[in-house]
Amino acid sequence: MSFIEISNVDLVYGKPGEKSTVNDTLAVSDTSITIEDGEFLALVGPSGCGKSTLLKLIAGLIRPSRGSVKVSGQEVTCPLKIVGMAFQNATLLPWRNIRDNVMLPLEIVEPYRGRHRQDRAKNRERADILLEKVGLAGFAEKMPWQLSGGMQQRAQLCRALIHEPSILLLDEPFAALDTFTREDLWGVLQELWEFRKCTIIIVTHELREAAFLAGKVSVMSSRPGRIIKTSSVDIPRPRTLETTFEPQFVELVQDLRHHISLGKTS
């Protein structure tokens, strides 16, 4: 049994509570994928193919129209609470400083929630450790608008990890950043994963990013999305920027690109 099992899932977006009509969008169709505990999976595919939808299905934010989504053998029926999420825009709360932003999940998720007041000092320390890991030591007291886009993304990663989730879902987290910042953050994310060893699923448009970070890359076809190919990345870790120039890496990226264009035409 795998940690996350998605079998034959369809997802139709329509008006809630109404019978399906021809106007409804079939976003994901007959998709199956399994993800092992502690795996780092990248999801790539053409725009609008249902990648974000797949993440929401795993998080339990939406229910499949058909098929099943299971996490640790349990059917997912409501938001999981063991996931952390991060998105392309950092969505930090502008009225809280960075540390308080990072600590937000601890005010919501059990068992931290009940003890939040007593454990405040301990929680601050946890937040500061994470902030230091992503290179934001000394920025804990700053307000979000005092940070650059890349720094806000780092803070967002900390917020997604503070409650020690077993699944981290990242939806194009670095898409809005410039190349240098993005490549920096690949390194940061790789380190965080080594540090926490949670299961990470990252959606990205950037094939080099997928190949650099992931242990397994799944390619989706255009809408309605299906997984058309999953390849494992057998490049030893820790990977560095030099890795991205090695023939093995370049070949992998070419191969992914080839499959995406196949998925578009089919």
Binding site: A59, L61, L80, Q88, I108, E110
Partner: protein, 267 residues
């Protein structure tokens, strides 16, 4: 430095310019004082009737404040409801719009029939006139929470209450205060209308009595009192806003959130 000084005194300068223009018009067109008194006559009336004006002014202020307070509480609650629940939006919003389109002056006689002459019609009219901007702005703040942020919250198992308390309400504060500044001025309008139509006290009543005696300078003195109270309450809201929502204003002075300017829908 000069620019800074200019900015500081600009409101006083424009106020003075307006008074001068008023004076000039009275002089140039030789308007009789029972049509338009000169500023000095109005100020003289202000001094002459200072006792009556301050008693009635305080009465108006109190009525306005009651109506405004009810409007703030009701507006905030309705705004949260309408902004965070689709069902509440569908069910309530058309009714609220309909309510807001009713000419409030027409309601005053009805209030008088129900509650008699006195403060209650004034409080109700002030409330009716001023609650809608609060509802509209708070609802906008709630309805425009970033969907990603909602997903982050929901994936953590946050309840509707968590989302309201931790995201919705703090996020709505700048919108809320923007609407308060509009609501407080509208509340004054409501009170004065009610006092003119059916009051036995208050500035509106003073104006009614003064105009029936052709004491036009006193009417203008009363108007000045209302405007000063309006500006005063506006400044208080502005001060509180600056204190509580400093996060939404960057040091350069540019607002982060598009501070809900929707609220201009009024009287």
């Amino acid at each position: 430095m000069i620019g800074h000084l200019c900015e500081r005194f600009a409101p006083w300068l424009t106020a003075m310019a307006a008074v001068l223009l008023w004076w000039a018009m009275v002089l140039v067109f030789d308007v009789p004082n029972y049509v338009l008194p000169s500023p000095w006559e109005a100020i003289a009336a202000l001094y002459e009737y200072r006792f009556a004006l301050s008693v009635h002014g305080l009465s108006t202020l109190w009525t306005t404040f009651m109506g405004f307070a009810v409007a703030v509480v009701v507006g905030m609650i309705l705004g949260i409801l309408v902004g965070s629940s689709r069902l509440a939006y569908r069910a309530l919003y058309p009714l609220l719009i309909a309510f807001n389109s009713v000419p409030k002056a027409a309601l005053v006689p009805i209030f008088v029939i129900w509650f008699g002459v006195g403060k209650v019609p004034g409080v109700l009219t002030a409330f009716m006139l001023s609650f809608f901007p609060v509802v509209a702005n708070v609802a906008t703040a709630f309805a425009t929470i970033e969907p990603e942020l909602l997903e982050v919250m929901r994936s953590l198992g946050a309840t509707k209450r968590d989302i309201t308390l931790k995201v919705g309400i703090p996020r709505s504060l700048p919108y809320f205060f923007a609407s308060l500044k509009i609501a407080i001025t509208l509340a004054f309008v409501g009170t004065v209308i009610a006092e003119i139509v059916a009051g036995n006290s208050g500035i509106g009543n003073v104006m009614l009595v003064a105009s029936s005696n052709f004491n036009v300078p006193l009417v203008f003195a009363a108007l000045i009192v209302v405007s000063i109270m309006g500006v005063g309450m506006y400044s208080v809201s502005d001060f509180i806003e600056r204190r509580l929502t400093s996060w939404s204003v960057r040091p350069q002075g540019a607002a982060v959130a598009d501070r809900g300017q929707l609220a201009s829908a009024g009287a």
